[in-house]
Amino acid sequence: MFVLVVGGGKVGYYLTKALIESGHEVVLMEKDRARATQIADEVGSIVIPHDGCEGKYLAEAGANRADIVAAVTGDDEDNLVICQIAKHHFAVRRSIARVNNPKNESLFKHLGVDEIISPTRMVLGSIEQDIPVHELLHLAALGEGELELIEAHLQAGSPAVGRAPKDLDIPEGCSLFAVIRDGVATPLRPDTVMREGDKVIAIGKTECEALLHGQLIGEAETADAR
């Protein structure tokens, strides 16, 4: 497979090396001459020290016979243009763009880019998935720190889902007093049944935290996958 990589930053550099290792034909375009030379010293004469947004240099790089063009520069607008010119001017079958601003994903798809890679979205997704599962969120410490205000995001598998505070084994010195459901905060009564997705606000002694964690989040081994 002949892959044309545009952008010799960290992503483009490691991508080029990995593609060579797996036996593909690769050409890398990097417009910064010093950077291009630096990479060429290592991987050989497959680096073209020119701007991959320019049709002339894309032609020089052999874009017309490329199977895939991967636009992985740090600038979204450049990556868009590279993919569009590759597809429409050189009839490249598949174009891949790195997208830094996650809001550009749908626009790029709509404008004909075949595949979108969004590092920002990936990290974001990972953060959003992981944090609430593992932790009780500390909102505030009261007094000298002997009491803490805590938020627990109820996930599937939490012992509290489908039950009311009166059915739970709430440790002495703790109380569950409010629930945020669909963005609306209401007082939590002893008979309010809690649901998945609820954020429960509790107040409790610092030393009760582990017990509270067990009741609202679940046991550590089920929550902590790492």
Binding site: C53, E54, G55, K56, D75, D76, E77, D78, L80, V81, Q84, I85, K87, H88, H89, N101, K103, N104, L107, H110, L111, G112, V113, D114
Partner: protein
Amino acid sequence: MKTVIVGCGRVGATLAEIFDLAGHEVIVLDTSTTAFERLPSTFRGSAVRGDGTDEDTLRRAGAEDADLFLAMTEGDNRNVMTAQLAGEELGAGRVLAKINDPLRAAAYAELGIATICRTTLMADAVAEWLGMPTSGTPGIQAPTGVHHGGEHHAASDAAQRPGGTRSVAARRS
């Protein structure tokens, strides 16, 4: 008429002044507030600091449903992206992008946005002044194709395009 201008350089600021004096509702965007110093003190339109390639920024600036949308920054690719955003997502009527690379200017005219190319304009002006043959390329290239999810429509459907997409500037020969 609502006119949005992205990029408040010499060209952008000059156009902003012209359209403002002509009574248009003008919105100018630039990433730098110092660029707005180019606007005359009499300018009645709005000058918004922000990135014109960002959809949310454009919406906040009130750039939706503009009758005329001009992408006039110093970056060819930024102009391309802004112009496509305006045409595809923000419901702009007529869109013009400044693209100084002649190849890209031609390519994007084929992809459905009107383009103006300073390189061709100036080279032709000089050639004309010297009585030498010009490129024959219009200074503004009208869109000859439409972008639909990556499908490239040939120049032949230019005839079916709604009014206003015919050659905008017929060059004097």
